[in-house]
Amino acid sequence: MSEGITDPSDWPIEFKSLREIDSHLRCPICKELLRAAVVLQCSHNFCSECIRRHLDKESSCPACRVATSTSQMRRNVALDEIANNFGDCRSLLLNTLMEAVQPKPVVRPVPPPQFVKEESMDIDYDSPQQKRRRTSTRITNRNVSSSQDHTDIAMGQVTLDDDKDDDFVLNHRDSSPLRHKGKNVHRSTGPVLRSRGGRAEQTLSQSSQSSQADERHEPTNLTKQEPSLPTASDHFHNSAPAPAEVQASLNSSTNITSSTITTSVASIASSPVIGPNLVACPICDKGIPEPYTNTHLDKFCLAGRTDPDYTVPYSLISKQPASVIALYTKQGTSTRDVVPDTNSSLTKPGTPGRSVGSNSSTPNSPARQSTMQWQPQMSSNGTAPRQPMFTPKPAAPEPKRIPKLTYSLLNDKQLRKKLQELGLQTNGDKTLMAKRHAEFATIFNANCDSTRPKPLSELMKAMQVWERAYEKDLEVRETQRRILDQQQQAQRQIHAAKEAKRQAKEDAAAAAAREAAMDSPGATPPSSQSSNGRSTFVPNQANSNAVNVAIASASAFAHAAKYADEYAELIAEVRNRLQADKEKALANTTTTITAEPAPPRSAPSQ
């Protein structure tokens, strides 16, 4: 049950500092490794989601109680990266350390396979995460029995998949497919960015022979383009020959071309991620040529439109082999085809000439698009936004958050509209809608704080789970309320029965007393009846009344007594049933809770 629950004390006692590191990378609220770390003004760090939920209830730091609010918290990007990477390597590191600390005299018939070797054998698309997992499984298995080594290696891929499913329930930090996805993307961009220079050169030198073929891409365009843009090309080729020369060289000799291009690519590689004279947009992180930053900001980025391709005229990449183009364009959020009709967009970069056909704008209605500014951050195909890991981040790279609403000031219709704009369900009463909006705002905004954001589809899935949990919770509450109601009703009935019983007793006593008084000689009624014996039925008004009362109360007494038993039975029955109900409801909740991380299963064990 407690699988996947990690703790600083997992580390061997010899490595106290590791325990410290581990505990400092944990959120004090959820006690897990920080996710989307944010820092408050008082310097305390939390998971974005945890602290957001807390601040919804109370506006103070949970650790020191200094007053604060969501607007005052800031992303702690470095800490988040550290926590993420620590989480990635934690189990491997722990296993390795444990082995080192407690060396086991395991006989190894086969020398341990070389990690490097195996990794080099790995196919390129095999993600680092998978590699890591594979090696870690092997290590643990080696502990158990070394003879399994072979099968493990052979079945690496298979065991990996099993793994994923096994710890899915709890160990989601490591194994959730979502994380995998994010990580893959993230990791794969890293090496690419770093090794771009080397690889590009390599590809170039390899394909320099074929570069003439590649030039067929847009030969005419280049010849037109280059002279028209002396400044731009100067930006780019600090050491490159004059445009005329480029043209000449491109047209004539492949050798010169490759050398000039190589230098230019080298200059790309040596510069930060974005490229020469490109600066990252503070909003969408896209690389924008410096002179066009304001144009981009005002006319395209903030307006949610896709801007024309500034990069083309600045680089010769349209001239490069396809692989280089791919490397380059991979960075952008949208892979736009390097169409060379850039003359127009070049001379007038402000015109949204070619922005129409890009990936994000067409499928959405204008209304939807205006509110959904996350599109640039999270493209619909599920890839994480580009990670300019080694670029100094601009001051405010924050994506747009969902603002907090004052739900009491909105009517149902307005609230429904807000939900619609976010693509959320709109059923239910206002309370539910408000809760739904708040929940989505929390997870969405927390996701914005993450350095490994999830795609929107994952958030939507989380919302579905939330809906189900909410319904279940409502059901449970309803059952509890009903139970309480029935109990109270039963109590009242018991009380009434008891009351009736007591009343009946009293009445009977009173009647008996009166009868006794009647029977006593002093109170002999002045009856004209000459019958010698006592008469039970005396034609005296008062007397007959008393008798009637006595009879009535006696029957009431009997009735009450009978009903008291019945009520008691009823109550016992109700209690039993309620108990059963309660247990069932409880079982339901626990099953939902435990089953929740699992894929959507309808109605767990009823």
């Binding site: 049950m1 407690s2 103070s60 709890l170 959730s176 949990a469 809770i593 435990t594």
Partner: protein, 169 residues
């Protein structure tokens, strides 16, 4: 992986349970009543030394809300307890168990209140120190308050007798 209320609370409780089993503080045992429901815990608290509660072992239940740790649990002794800060029904009334918003006695400073960084362990340690040093400003059990203030010896006697009762002597 989402983090809806339930799983967060569940994972956090599991973490705390693990911590408590691995490094249990002296005089405290606590854990879920059943493995199926992590939101109901049972705790056993040893009476602190040099107090009239010494030698006693007091069972209690902890009921956690679904949004734990944002809201505090409710702690209730299931044995008879004579203490100024424990209600007749066994419910413990100390500041760490009160969310800052709700203050039944208007005496607690918010710094002592519940916050998500608190834990079961801290609650139980607070209860231990509460047993040793009752706070007569918050009267959960007025009778016990009065006796504790007026006649300490008598108070100790009553407590000892309840301790014996809980031990079945």
């Amino acid at each position: 992986m989402h983090k809806t209320m339930g799983p967060t609370a569940l994972r956090r409780l599991m973490t705390e349970y693990r911590e408590l089993t691995l490094h249990a503080p002296e005089g405290i045992t606590a854990g879920p009543t059943t493995e199926e429901n992590f939101f109901e815990w049972e705790a056993l608290i040893e009476g602190p030394q040099d107090t009239p509660y010494e030698g006693g072992i007091f069972p209690a239940t902890l009921t956690f809300p679904k949004d734990y740790p944002l809201s505090p649990p409710v702690m209730k002794f299931t044995c008879e307890m004579f203490h100024p800060n424990i209600y007749q029904d066994g419910t413990v009334c100390i500041s760490i168990l009160h969310a800052p918003g709700d203050d039944p006695n208007m005496y607690e400073s918010s710094s002592e209140r519940w916050s998500p960084v608190q834990s079961v362990e801290k609650i139980l340690l607070s209860v231990l120190s509460m047993l040793a040093e009752p706070n007569d400003e918050s009267g959960a059990n007025i009778e016990a308050c009065k006796v504790w203030r007026a006649d300490r010896k008598h108070f100790d006697e009553i407590v000892r007798s309840t301790v014996r009762k809980t031990l079945g002597l």
